[in-house]
Every structure is written in structure tokens, then in C-alpha cells.
Symmetry: C2
Subunit: 147 residues, 2 copies
């Protein structure tokens, strides 16, 4: 890391074309298979499939979003019939979010598409190198969070 260009390269590495390409291909795979989900909606569903009936705050923590973002995602997903909001009788500040029948039924199809996209993307990459990427990103995250 010496020149200005290399710093810009590193920025592009982290936030640039590869994550965008992955998102684009995932979206395309969704659409081509009749799955009308945004990648953000998928990331919320993935949390619910593991823990149905959790709060919006929990969804925000698990999906690395802030509360306003989750509020609006749930708004749209409720309109699309994927989830229902139910008030928490034990804490009236809180809503509990439940999968609808539709939200449950699409799990297998969606996860197959996600798995296929991930497998396609990491073809020819060794497990050691994937582990290294995970470790580097974890370290970067820690470096930035300490602040």
C-alpha cells in the first residue's frame, strides 16, 4: 500500500465491483426463477427462518441494519404478504415479526438459489483462501469498530 491508486484500489476491493457483481447475479437468479425478493428482504427472511417471531431490533442486529431500515423493509414485506407484525404482549414497545405461509414456503427455493450463486462465485477458490478472506474481514471490522 504505497500510492494513492492503491488506496483507491483497496476501497474498491472492499466496497466495489465484486460485492456489486454478486448482488447483481443474485438478483438476476431470483428474478429468472420467479422469486420476487430483494437481497435485503432475503437477508431478513434468513434471520426469520432461523428464529421466527423475533423483534425488529433483533432483525436489525442480525442483518447489520439500523432500526429505520428494518421498519421500512418490514413495511414492504408485510405488503408483499411475506411477514406479519404482531404486538409483543410482554413489551408494548416491541413488535414480533412472524413468517406467513408464503414466507415459509419460499425458503427452500430461495436457499437453493443463494447456495447455487455462492457456489458459482467461489468455484476454483481453495478453502484456505476463503478462510483467509474471512479472517481479514473480521480483523478489518474489529479495527474499524474499536474506534
Amino acid at each position: 500500500m504505497q500510492s494513492i491508486l492503491e488506496y483507491q484500489d483497496f476501497y474498491n476491493l472492499l466496497t466495489g465491483r465484486t460485492p456489486q457483481a454478486f448482488n447483481r447475479v443474485l438478483n438476476k437468479n431470483f428474478r429468472q426463477n420467479g422469486v420476487e425478493l430483494t437481497k435485503e428482504q432475503w437477508s431478513i427472511l434468513a434471520v426469520l427462518w432461523e428464529n421466527d417471531g423475533c423483534s425488529q431490533q433483533y432483525l436489525a442486529d442480525k442483518s447489520f441494519r439500523d432500526r429505520p431500515s428494518v421498519t421500512r423493509l418490514i413495511d414492504n414485506m408485510e405488503k408483499d404478504g411475506l411477514v406479519d407484525r404482531k404486538p409483543d404482549v410482554n413489551d408494548r414497545r416491541s413488535n414480533l415479526i412472524f413468517l406467513t405461509k408464503k414466507g415459509k414456503q419460499i425458503q427452500e427455493k430461495v436457499m437453493n438459489l443463494v447456495n447455487a450463486t455462492v457456489e458459482e462465485s467461489i468455484k476454483g477458490i481453495s478453502v484456505e483462501n476463503i478462510v483467509t478472506v474471512k479472517e481479514v474481514f473480521h480483523k478489518i471490522y474489529q479495527n474499524l469498530e474499536v474506534k
Copy 2:
């Protein structure tokens, strides 16, 4: 990569909390130092600092955005007095984008902030591991682009 959870982990790795954290810290560093730029505007300026007076299509290619996104970024940056649009006399379909005095003057300050943020983020990570991340991302990009 065996279970559903690990695939989701990989998705989060690529598009998740670490890139978001980097963007958040970079934005914070901009604001705390009186630089009123979005990270997207910065990525456009970085291209112009290397090649002032290029077309919007060129900016789109270099910053990995589509044409509509660049149109609106330039709209906003023109309002903010960072760049000027000038018609290309040799090709009347095309605009040439030029840095204003303001757009040139902030280069040093902005690049110092970007460099500091990158350095902070990669503290304690070996050059070999950073190279591995670059290679893995390049391979992923190729895997997805072939499609």
C-alpha cells in the same frame, strides 16, 4: 461450505457488515473534517483526479456504475460546485466532465482522509493476506462475470 448458515455467512462476508463499517467510518471521517462528500461522489472525484475532462460513460466504467447513476451523481456534484458539464464538440452525444477549482482543491485533504481510513482498517494485517483477498475477489468477479 456445508450448511445453509455458512452460505449466509459467505453472503454477509461479501456484502455485509465489513464493507458497511468501512463506508460508515469513511463517511464519519469526512464529516468530522468538514468534507461534505458522499463516498460515491468521492469515487467519481478519484477518477477525475486521474483523468480530468472525461466522459460520463468513462466515469461509469471506472467507478463500476451504470449510466443513470452517473447522470445523477454528476447532477448533484454540479449543484455542489465540484464539477462542470461541457458538451463534447467532437461527439455531440457526449458530455465532458471537468473539475472546478473547488473539486481540485479538496483532493489532498480527501485523499489524506481516505488513506488514513484504509490504513486504520488494515492495521495488523499482513501484505500476503491482503494480496490473497485481492486475488480471491478477482476470481469471484471473474466467476460471476463469465455468466
